[in-house]
């Protein structure tokens, strides 16, 4: 990491910490959602962007994480913060297990399998034999956590939304660091090698099945943790919260944000959180049509996503002195 990036990140973090004191509670809540989405998108990006496995059903892992948190809080009486690692662990396992049979599936076939997962999971949540835990079609209402006592002792009285924002921010920073170290390390290089050339990767001694299933598990873990956070923030889970369009929205998020880019997850999260609201402001008659036009516009202008466009812009700015032609790699999953 060069100095400039480091300064950039510190600035962004400082800004993120100042934010809840500058905006209203409602905006606070919106930015908490942005952070949550960014963790979910990061998870999907690890799978799709860095490992080349497509998923049209990541909403399912988001749902599993959310229900895990909701059930543990409301039925087992666990504190909210304790549900996060448990939801992550559960989704890690679920993702790994789903990744095993999915190993034999590539491209379109994997798209179908994950699409199927995304469509079936809400139906499973409604299944009458699971109703005792999931609350069936009625879902589960959750109590919102208060800021811990010791903070007010420190003269730092935070309201619920501010506290939840900081809590989510802390988790998000942790997850982004984890993702960065993971992707820079051995396993990250193996993931990308498999994406770019599976046969060569195998020849180099990479255990493809293990890495691919593990990637699925890790990806599901990120998205599941995001799901758990969302349950706590929204205070409600129901099968209708996790329909197939959520999974599609995640896919839109990583493509618009930038495939195989860690900051891309944040850009994508901003897009999926705010652009539908803008579309709704523009037209009550056909908000989806406006949203579709936004999608077309972003894709045409930035085929490699917002992250790709920023990288390209940066390269153009800084490379003027050198006479090298700028080249941005496009990532084909």
């Amino acid at each position: 990491m060069n100095k400039r990036t480091l300064i950039g990140i510190v600035l962004v973090l400082l800004l993120a910490c100042a934010l809840p004191f500058a905006v209203s509670e409602y905006r606070n809540f919106q930015f908490t959602l942005v952070l949550i989405y960014s963790i979910a998108l990061l998870g999907l990006n690890i799978l799709t962007g860095f490992n080349g496995q497509i998923s049209l059903g990541h909403g399912a892992f988001y749902a599993i994480g959310a229900y895990c948190a909701a059930i543990l809080m409301e039925q087992a009486g666990l504190p909210y913060w304790a549900t996060i690692p448990l939801a992550g662990a559960l989704c890690l396992g679920a993702g790994f297990l789903f990744g095993l049979p999915a190993l034999r599936l590539e491209g379109l076939y994997l798209a179908l399998a994950t699409f199927a997962l995304g469509v079936s999971l809400p139906q499973l949540l409604k299944y009458h034999r699971l109703e005792e835990w999931t609350g069936g079609v009625q879902g589960i209402v959750i109590t919102k956590p208060d800021a811990p006592e010791f903070l007010s002792g420190l003269n730092l009285a935070l309201n619920q939304d501010q506290w939840l924002y900081f809590f989510t921010l802390a988790v998000a920073v942790l997850m982004f660091l984890l993702a960065r170290n993971l992707l820079r390390g051995r396993i990250g290089r193996a993931m990308m090698a498999i994406r770019d050339n599976p046969i060569a990767a195998e020849a180099m001694g990479i255990n493809i099945s293990l890495v691919k299933s593990l990637t699925f598990g890790i990806s599901a873990m990120f998205t599941g943790i995001a799901g758990a956070l969302s349950a706590i923030a929204v205070q409600f889970v129901a099968p209708d919260s996790f329909n197939i369009f959520l999974s599609i929205t995640f896919l839109i998020g990583i493509v618009i944000g930038g495939l195989a880019s860690i900051p891309g997850a944040l850009y994508g999260a901003l897009f999926i959180q705010f652009v539908p609201n803008i579309a709704d402001e523009i037209s009550k008659a056909a908000p989806w049509a406006i949203f579709g036009l936004f999608l077309l516009g972003f894709t045409y202008l930035m085929p490699t996503g917002i992250a790709g466009a920023i990288r390209l812009g940066w390269v153009r700015l800084t490379r003027k002195a050198h006479h090298k032609p700028s080249r941005v790699t496009t990532i084909l999953p």
Binding site: F29, G139, S230, F236, V237, A238, F245, L246, A279
Partner: protein, 401 residues
């Protein structure tokens, strides 16, 4: 406004000079001398976008009221947001309305899951969540949730009425049930089973569900037919209701057919299915059906048609949602009227809970809205009707309070 002594004195003078009414003016956020700001959340996009038109017809009605001078001299301004029928988005939008737009109340948010998601929030914030567009039973719970109120007859009560009718007319009926696998379908199913009581186990011979994503309910209908049932309770939305009516006719199954009120529209369900195939259907109604020829010259339907032409010309005249929106908006206006100059959230709730024999012309003769501090269910009576191939024919008395 800065509260300088001069301003205070001027205010005091004004208050003393004017009669008592002005002195009693009380406002919560969203209300002022000039306007009343209310919020609304509707699915304009996503899988339930068919209901988005309710929001538009409500907005059109308020426009009409405002053009005619508003209520007690105040304009009603409604801010409506799209939640795409996704509960997390509903929470976001409700918070935007309450915390940023500072509305006096939220009117007619649609759907059981979206409303469940904001139920606790609205009550914690003490902002009225009025006349929600869902028929779940839980909205009538003034003790625990004094800031939430439903509007339409609840699903369980309606199903209960069919159960009583079956018990009276066909005590040995073998009943088959088709229901949508969600909160709405299960509420109706529960109402039927509770209504049949001990006899439910023997009388209900088959119950099958469908998902909203299923392309057809043909398979379910074949299962029900094979059960040998002679009575059919059809808990479906218009698209699947029409499919079920047609499929029963195509396969020669002729049970006594009870259709839930959700789909009991001649224009949106019966006509697409085929009027000849719908003969004998039994349902309950509380609103007039604007597509029913029996009401073609009724003043309410004539007035509504003129209203649609003038204020919502793009609106579909066949969609019951547009008639419903017009009707429920009248109830809202009535509450604001009753609240007078005391436009606090508490008083709005108090007025909503003291509607006495309110009967706008959109409702069937004999059906009245009554609420009290312990009764948060505005419409509790319905009328049984049977389809004769042209119109819904009313039979029996008004049932319920």
């Amino acid at each position: 406004m800065k509260c300088t002594p001069i301003v205070l004195a001027a205010l005091l003078a004004a208050a003393l000079a004017s009669p008592a009414a002005l002195a009693q003016k009380k406002y919560d956020p969203g209300a002022s001398d000039k306007e009343i700001l209310i919020g609304n959340i509707n699915p304009y996009s996503g899988p339930a976008s068919a209901y988005g038109t309710i929001g538009r017809s409500i907005a059109a009605y308020f426009k009409k009221v405002n053009e005619e001078g508003g209520v007690n001299g105040r304009q009603i301004n409604m801010i409506s947001y799209d939640d795409g029928y996704s509960p997390p988005k509903t929470v976001e939008m409700a918070r935007k309305l309450v915390e940023q737009d500072k509305v006096l109340l939220i009117f007619q948010p649609l759907g059981t899951p979206p409303n469940s998601a904001i139920h606790k929030y609205m009550n914690a914030k003490k902002v009225p969540q009025l006349f929600v567009a869902t028929g779940a039973t839980k909205w009538n719970d003034p003790k625990k949730f004094p800031w939430t109120m439903g509007w339409q007859p609840n699903y369980q009560t309606e199903a209960n009425i069919y159960a009583q009718h079956i018990l009276q007319t066909k005590p040995n009926a073998k009943i088959a049930v088709l229901y949508q696998n969600d909160d709405y379908g299960k509420d109706y199913l529960k109402g039927l089973l509770d209504g049949l009581g001990d006899k439910a186990k023997t009388m209900v011979v088959k119950q099958v569900s469908y998902e909203v994503t299923d392309p057809t309910v043909d398979s379910q209908m074949a299962q029900l037919q094979a059960s040998g049932a002679d009575t059919f309770f059809n808990i479906t939305t218009p698209k699947f209701g029409a499919q079920a009516i047609r499929k029963a006719w195509d396969s020669g199954w002729k049970p006594v057919h009870y259709l839930n009120n959700v789909s009991a529209s001649i224009g949106t369900t019966l006509k697409p299915a085929g009027l000849d195939k719908s003969v004998g259907l039994i349902t309950t109604q509380y609103l007039k059906d604007q597509n029913d020829k029996a009401w073609a010259n009724d003043p309410a339907v004539v007035e509504w048609t003129a209203f649609m032409k003038k204020y919502y010309p793009d609106g579909n005249l066949i969609a019951t949602e547009n008639f419903y929106g017009w009707c429920v908006a009248q109830t809202m206006v009535q509450v604001i009227k009753q609240a007078g100059n005391d436009l606090t959230r508490a008083n709005v709730m108090k007025q909503a809970a003291s509607l006495k024999n309110f009967a706008p012309s959109c409702m069937l003769p004999g059906i009245k809205i009554n609420t009290s501090a312990t009764d948060f269910a505005p419409i509790e009576s319905v009328q049984l009707v049977r389809f004769d191939g042209k119109d819904w024919v009313r039979f029996g008395d008004i049932i319920g309070k």
